[in-house]
């Protein structure tokens, strides 16, 4: 049975069509990542699946039931930090255990297990106010790990986490994957989506491509990428680099640019020389395989993530 089955799902706010006839099937036990930029409709789609919003038209079923009838099976992790900073980690989870109808005795045992699972047992009696961003996110993940929840929906769970907290968090998702739970991960980070068994790329309210991560990359036609960290970033640098990017425009990153070229060995020295001639220092240059963010850029000519 499919965990999620959406057919021709649309959502309109006035004249603004946020979802445009989305079709989505996610099998039980699958780890599916939905990747796209802000405003692409990912959160709207996930909140319809979680029964927080209603679609304007189309059909959606969760384990063969309407979303509002399948709430007992779904664990939804919204983007915001929803835990109460005035309560301790344990008290927060006890609250959710109560909402799920567990008796106090059962709740105490389950909450203890969950706090250990997310690595917060030592901090269980501290108020969430004193937690770091990563700890708070792990606590909130624990709210979707109560027994009986078969479909976990996580909306951009790694946003705002530092690299170490993000690694720990992704480790936790890997563990969940091993437990054969169905996971729907909403993200705009290619490296996070790479962990999934299948990825859907979403843009302007539609899923524009869907496949296993490695196949998406392979089918993109992108061979190699030169990743360059430059001392300056401006129009002149981008214009120069675009001459070496044969298949696509250059992609601006946080620290420099990504150039898409077939012949890396030939292009790399020319890039360094060219940049040197216009007074731009190359801090680091490396070749890499295309990422899912590159694939998205290839398909849409827009970036998944905005850079400063």
């Amino acid at each position: 049975m499919d965990a999620i089955h959406a057919e021709n799902l649309s959502k309109k706010y006035g004249d603004n069509e946020v979802l445009k006839g989305v079709n989505l099937r996610i099998a039980e036990g699958e780890f599916y990542a939905l990747m796209g930029p802000n405003g692409s409709g990912k959160t709207t789609l996930s909140s319809i699946i979680a029964s927080v919003r209603s679609p304007s038209s189309g059909k959606i079923e969760i384990y063969g039931k309407k979303p509002e009838k399948a709430k007992k099976l779904v664990g939804y992790l919204p983007q915001e930090n929803f835990s109460s900073p005035l309560l301790t980690g344990k008290e927060n989870l006890m609250y959710f255990a109560g909402l799920l109808g567990y008796s106090k005795g059962e709740a105490v045992k389950i909450v203890e297990g969950l706090l250990k699972k997310v690595g917060l047992w030592e901090e269980a009696n501290k108020r969430v106010y004193h937690y770091s961003g990563g700890m708070r996110k792990r606590l909130e993940v624990a709210t979707i790990l109560f027994p009986g929840l078969k479909l976990l929906i996580m909306d951009e769970p790694t946003t705002g986490l530092d690299p170490s907290a993000r690694r720990k968090f992704l480790g936790l998702i890997q563990e969940l994957r091993n437990e054969a739970t169905t996971i729907l991960l909403i993200t705009h980070i290619g490296a996070d989506a790479d962990l999934a068994s299948r990825v859907g790329l979403m843009d302007k309210g539609s899923i524009i491509a869907e496949d296993r991560p490695e196949r998406l990359k392979k089918n993109s036609g992108l061979e190699n990428v030169v990743n360059i960290e430059t001392s300056i970033k401006n129009e002149r640098v981008a214009s120069l680099l675009s001459k070496f990017s044969e298949k696509l425009n250059v992609l601006e990153t946080e620290t420099g640019y990504r150039v898409f070229t077939e012949d890396v060995e030939e292009a790399t020295p020319k890039i360094v020389r060219g940049l040197d001639e216009i007074g731009c220092k190359v801090i680091r240059i490396e070749t890499a395989k295309p990422s899912l963010e590159d694939v998205f850029f290839k398909l849409t000519e827009t970036k998944v993530r905005e850079v400063d």
């Binding site: 709430k71 109460s84 006890m94 609250y95 959710f96 109808g101 008796s103």
Partner: protein
């Protein structure tokens, strides 16, 4: 442990752990009981002093109930919505009615706690009341009407004012202004006639007058608020506010986009 108990526990702990909530609901009325009992009573004849202090304590008890219902409750609702908790809870098999009941019971317990503290400080400051068992029970009924009316207004504010600070400030503003204009914080006799009419219609001030009438005497209430023509509308308007707040909260706050 059901959904009502879980919500009660969470809301109660949040009320008791927020310093601003404690200050405005308990600290501020107590400060005014102290100031009122010792500074504003210099011209009061000694035989009337203890009942004047009683009337001041009742007003501040009502003020505490108003702040709890009109500012703390909407602040709590807006906070849960702003930080995404309401979205999270809506995705779970939770009934809005159980969530509502848990919140209201927590507010009732917290309000009861603040009422006892304010009245206790009043008694320590020399406030005295004269009442029979029936007077006490009637006063309790009016206290519940004040709670119900304030909570109704609080739910309306919490539903329509989305931001936490906006919700709290709207509640505090409405509490202070309506308490000042309706005779909760100013003796009824000193109000201009238009405000005296308002004081009789506004269920919180008329219930305040009824409690004052029952526990310290008519001269402190300014009029007889216990006539049928006065008590029935007081109860009806308070209940109407509560029902309106309840329906608005459960329909609009929990409405799917």
């Amino acid at each position: 442990m059901g959904q009502i108990t879980a919500t009660w526990n969470k809301t109660m702990k949040e009320f008791l752990r927020q310093k601003t909530v404690l200050f405005w609901t308990i600290g501020w009325p107590i400060i005014w009981v102290l100031i009122g009992s010792f500074s504003f009573t210099s011209n009061v004849p000694s035989e009337a002093l203890s009942y004047t202090r009683g009337a001041i304590s009742i007003s501040m008890m009502v003020f505490a109930l108003m702040t709890a219902g009109m500012a703390n409750l909407p602040g709590n609702i807006a906070q849960d919505r702003e930080r995404g908790l309401l979205t999270k809870v809506m995705s779970m098999p939770v009934s809005p009615w159980r969530d509502f009941t848990g919140r209201i019971l927590a507010l009732l317990a917290f309000s009861g706690f603040s009422v006892m503290l304010v009245i206790s400080v009043g008694l320590v400051c020399g406030a005295r009341f004269f009442f029979t068992g029936i007077d006490f029970m009637e006063s309790l009924a009016f206290i519940i009407l004040i709670f119900v009316g304030s909570a109704g207004i609080g739910m309306l504010i919490g539903t329509f004012v989305k931001q936490v600070h906006g919700a709290i400030m709207s509640g505090v503003g409405l509490t202070v202004v309506s308490a000042a204009l309706s005779g909760v914080m100013t003796p009824y006799q000193y109000l201009p006639s238009v405000l005296q009419n308002f004081a009789r219609i506004y269920p919180i001030s008329s219930a305040n007058s009824a409690i004052t009438y029952l526990l310290v005497g008519e001269e402190y209430a300014g009029y007889n608020p216990l006539s049928a023509g006065q008590t029935v509308p007081t109860a009806l308007v308070a209940l109407l506010l509560f029902i309106l707040g309840l329906i608005t909260y459960s329909r609009l706050c929990w409405k799917k986009d």
